[in-house]
Symmetry: C2
Subunit: 248 residues, 2 copies
DNA sequence: ACAAAAGTGTTGAGAGTACACCCATGC
DNA sequence: GCATGGGTGTACTCTCAACACTTTTGT
């Protein structure tokens, strides 16, 4: 380390992102940059993720997280939203940057760095692309995933961890539901994602005391049993409530 | 959106990161990818960040977060560690991916996507590059930052938020201290970063009950007053303790 | 003996958790 | 009137937060 100091400062003219006047950056090797969007939804009382089937090598026939190249004139989030709209037709969606994966050999063809996003969509807003000649897209249960291309298994695992974690200290659960919902539906959404049962009274107390919901005044008619009050997410609510400190 | 369906599926052959056989990806416009490393340390009882002074246009003379291009054969984290070692000489360091910034116009020259990392280093391990002809590097108080190049002000703000947040629910505070330290020093580190005073008894109880520290048996001699017990971080400790849930 | 920093316990308030029954509606 | 899911309250425990004095050392 010490010995390498001088040559290092010479060879790393661009180490601080400075390059000489007249330098043509395009001549240098550059990685490709993609966005991959992990799209979660609750379908048939199960947490599902949308995957697409690859048509070309490598990993032809295997399933992958939908994604694509970042266009030269769009931001990363715009790219992610574009991919999401292409796959699901949904535009007004909760989306969040997850992590950037960039191991040199994660794509066997060339260097590809991918910025992973995760999105939560309500199943009732999904615009089905049935019959299109686009690549096959299918919802898979997170409990029963097919073999995945690239490092996508790792990305999904990371996304699930983050989703669960997020659900525990923020109020993103609504994003998986339609605009209006009952408390039982919301509780069920939490139970499905967290994979455990919750106490009804404690759940209701905690959600209601956080004041992120408001009553619509409507009641659910269709179902059996007593009709449930219908709530909606308060658009003026602060979604992320301060958690209690652990340290110190 | 609906009208565009067909042409969209045609024009986006690479939307799912599939490109045709024989496709030469290098011909397409690609962004450059850099890593920037926000390096925090406690110096003179203040939270400081290491910045470098740019020599070239754009933003010549302004200060910037140290960083550089990701080499084609190294992972993102390797690139970040390399940059960190180049700037500080430190190798065994806490480092964490922060966020990826990729607005199309964040660099006026060309499209540059940067993966930001943040690092916590103990000031006693920093290897000074004094006299080297590398670009000027200087520690700045987070309370008194100079004008910053690119979107680096935004990155620093984000990094500070994340550091504070992290400190509240994990045990990374040690990373800012030497291997061995007293509880008062640790408390002071927390106070500096969080920007508020903490109760000594509550702090000690909470830290000690988490069992992430062990006594070295040694006592601090130098100072005035009663000598303090010296602790070290338990290498077998779990740094991230489960926080109490907020929802539900 | 005094200055300076280290170390130590208790109490009250608020939040979390566990737990069982009545209510409104459709059939 | 009964089946079905909706809605409600209370007691115990635990953690947090506030607060002041004694101990050990060097000079």
């Amino acid at each position: 380390m010490l010995l390498g100091t001088f040559s290092l400062t010479m060879s790393d003219k661009n180490a601080t992102n400075d390059w000489p006047a007249g330098y043509d950056a395009s001549k240098y090797d550059r990685p490709s940059v993609t966005v991959d969007v992990v799209i979660f939804s609750l379908i048939e009382e199960d947490l599902k993720v949308l995957l697409v089937q690859r048509k070309n090598s490598p990993f032809a026939g295997m399933w992958a997280i939908p994604g694509g190249f970042v266009h030269i004139d769009e931001s990363l989030e715009e790219a992610a939203l574009r991919e999401l709209a292409e796959e699901t037709g949904v535009t007004d969606v909760y989306i969040e940057q997850l992590y950037t994966f960039g191991d040199p050999d994660r794509d066997p063809r060339t260097r590809v760095i991918t910025v992973a996003y995760f999105a939560l969509v309500s199943s009732d807003t999904i615009w089905h692309q049935a019959g299109s000649d686009a690549e096959a897209a299918e919802w898979f249960s997170m409990k029963d995933l097919p073999p995945l291309a690239f490092d996508h298994a790792k990305i999904l695992e990371y996304a699930l961890t983050r989703l669960r974690y997020k659900l525990e200290y923020t109020a993103v659960g609504f994003q998986l539901l339609p605009d209006e919902f009952t408390l039982s539906e919301l509780q069920q959404a939490y139970e499905i994602v967290l994979g455990e049962e919750l106490d009804k009274r404690n759940f209701r107390r905690k959600i209601l005391s956080s004041e992120i919901l408001e009553e619509t005044g409507k009641k659910k008619k269709e179902a059996e049993g007593r009709p449930a009050m219908i709530y909606r997410y308060r658009t003026d609510a602060v979604a992320e409530v301060k958690t209690r400190r652990l340290f110190p």
